[in-house]
Symmetry: C2
Subunit: 414 residues, 2 copies
């Protein structure tokens, strides 16, 4: 039996224990996890220093190293994020869709954990703690496979979390970390249908693609965000500017930031002012010909720009003659993540909501609101860009499934 | 561009039209589909005769040929099944989970079609009509790929349905049938992430495995049903017999039929009588040692028997000392499809529901009730055995997804 299979068997067994844990016990375990992180700050910092040293030796850039560094403050923030999950309602055990059939059978659904989640990530080490806490609260066992760049940090965090579970008499196998460094472990993980119910990749394009193409286990993708702001005719110039600026500038490196601005041709007179403001805020502008006719300082946009998820202060700008042209553009070039319309018309807002096929459609609000915390789900595992299972933020409820249960008094089928 | 890509592009375009179709228009289209099938009975029978002739030439057995044959009565039944879907509520457009955030944003979900479904099947030709009707009502475009054994029948049915859509001014691309006979078309289909949102395989173990292993598109599996009936201590002998017999005998060739009977050792005195009745009904019995001690006529069960989905009149029988032993057996050998308990105790029934991890758990009712019609969903695409997206019957609602929509008045993130 391979090491990965052993991990799988332990996780499956742990998942059965977790599925039946009362909310209070899960919250006690989460509190223990949070305390253990703070109490073990020194151990974490020591291990983290190894990752930081490797990153420096590999000449990684300053932003990369900054994301990697764990200090007492960041460890406290990780612990606080876990405590926040304590305060969220437990989705497990909810009974809904109750009906009674003509033959007297009582039919209902019960919300239950999915079972075993495999999380493959290449992000900051805090994902280790966040993911473990979300899985525990939703009653799932988790197998974590972090990126090599944060190997020591991820391993020590997972180790501390697992130890802290044992102290409150919850199986430490609820949180397991894959320590084998080679890629073959990931490939094996992606085929462990018997032990893993869902794979969640978190990371860049390459990781998502590798996982989708190789997994025989169902995958929930958290993919690219090529998000659009569409300014409709008649839009208030101030609101349009606020929403565009917030969507692009407030945090350009995240998936719900805007990449392309679409502007109705009847709004053109306001466009130069908006683009100038954006430029003053450090945004590089790449426009279609009609954009450049009113704002020549914009660089010409190429076909590639319409597909781009810049993740930085660059904005593509295109003028359209109708809402349908905007919708067509979004359908062709977008990633079905988040789009916003700025419009004075309720009807036009509604039309946009119906016609745009994205995980979240904003009317007169920033694209940046497509986020678990902002939409009221609490913490999230990411933003799903696929249509199966969950779309948009994946919070605690989205980490569950259901089973039907049927209460009879001896009914049989005729 | 390949033929499959062309089909994909047409389906994607059709899906956008279908997503916005009002319920009345979809119902009009379904009625047109039903009428067209009846009106074209002769054309269908002529094409069906070719499949039946091939099956005879290939020396297929009588049951196989019987499933394949389409006559006026069966065509009428296909049409009636479509008309039943007319009467089901349209899931699309439902607005739910509405909340208002502290910043005044109104957040809600809107139920929307998934988009384009790819259905790969090797079943009776009526699946062509059923699947097309369910997809149309739920606003999805469908790409159908049927088995070669019913190629002519499937092709003519799909063709008639598609023509009938055009007559009521709905895009005929809503229902497309893949006519290329070679397997490479299926392999190409499984990689068309850009055009297909979900793949639904319907068929035997080999098909499901091939699809899961090769698809880079999310799959909803309708897999094996290794279903159990567990007779708890104190169970009423009459109810236990009724439920066991119905679960095994009423229709043994379907996924929600029982394959294994688990019996609490305190119920042993009733077991010989039950097994004798089953035997009289033609059921072959394969028992554990303790079963054979009280009913020596049973053949000895092997390890393989516990895993078997017989699909015929064979029942494996095992004696257990506790409910937990039954639950362990189900976890180890079952397929998470359907299990039933017969018990006089509400508490014990509830415990079984909580501990068993299956798409449906029946208390004092036959396993045969895990069915879209029986559970109140109306028609179904199949019974999902996976945990992502939907579990148990996949009806109209399960053929949809949602999008978030957010109505603001200029809100941005701070």
């Amino acid at each position: 039996m391979s090491l990965m299979q052993e991990i799988g068997i332990r996780a499956r067994r742990a998942s059965r224990e977790l599925a039946l844990l009362p909310t209070e016990k899960k919250n006690e375990a989460l509190s223990a996890m949070a305390s253990a992180l703070v109490d073990s700050s020194h151990r974490i910092e020591t291990e983290n220093a190894k990752d930081v040293a490797s990153a420096r030796a590999d000449d990684m850039d300053a932003a990369f190293i900054d994301r990697l560094i764990l200090n007492k403050k960041r460890i406290k923030e990780m612990a606080d994020a876990i405590l926040q999950i304590v305060s969220l309602p437990d989705p497990v055990g909810e009974i809904y869709d109750e009906t009674t059939r003509p033959n007297g059978l009582k039919v209902a659904k019960m919300r239950v954990p999915i079972g075993v989640l495999g999380i493959i990530y290449e992000s900051r080490p805090n994902v280790t703690a966040d993911a473990a806490a979300l899985c525990l609260k939703s009653g799932n066992a988790v197998i974590l496979r972090g990126g090599s760049e944060a190997f020591h940090s991820n391993a020590i965090i997972a180790n501390i979390l697992s130890e802290s579970l044992a102290k409150v008499f919850v199986t430490p196998d609820a949180v397991q970390f894959v320590k084998t460094p080679d890629r073959s472990a990931v490939m094996e993980m992606l085929k462990m249908n018997k032990y893993i119910d869902v794979i969640i990749p978190r990371g860049g394009y390459g990781l998502i693609k590798m996982v989708s193409e190789n997994s025989s286990i169902p995958v929930v993708k958290h993919d690219a965000g090529v998000c659009h702001v569409y300014i409709d005719e008649g839009a208030d110039a101030g609101k349009a500017a606020d929403i565009t600026i917030n969507s692009k500038v407030q945090r350009p490196g995240v998936c719900n930031a805007a990449e392309t601005l679409l502007v109705h041709s009847n709004w053109l007179k306001h466009l130069p002012g908006l683009l100038k403001t954006l430029w003053q805020m450090g945004v590089e502008l790449r426009g279609c010909e009609r954009t450049r006719a009113v704002y020549p300082a914009a660089k010409p946009a190429t076909e590639d720009d319409w597909y781009a998820e810049y993740m930085e202060l660059i904005l593509a700008v295109k003028v359209v003659d109708t809402m349908d042209e905007a919708v067509e553009h979004i359908e062709k070039y977008g990633s079905h993540h988040t789009e916003a319309i700025v419009t004075p018309s309720k009807e036009r807002g509604w039309e946009f909501v119906r016609k745009v096929d994205s995980s979240a459609v904003m009317v007169n609000a920033s694209t940046r609101f497509n986020d678990g915390g902002q939409l009221g789900l609490g913490a999230e595992m990411g933003i799903s860009t696929q249509k199966l299972h969950c779309r948009g933020p994946m919070g605690l409820k989205e980490l569950t499934t259901y089973k039907y249960f049927v209460i009879g008094s001896g009914q049989v089928r005729g």
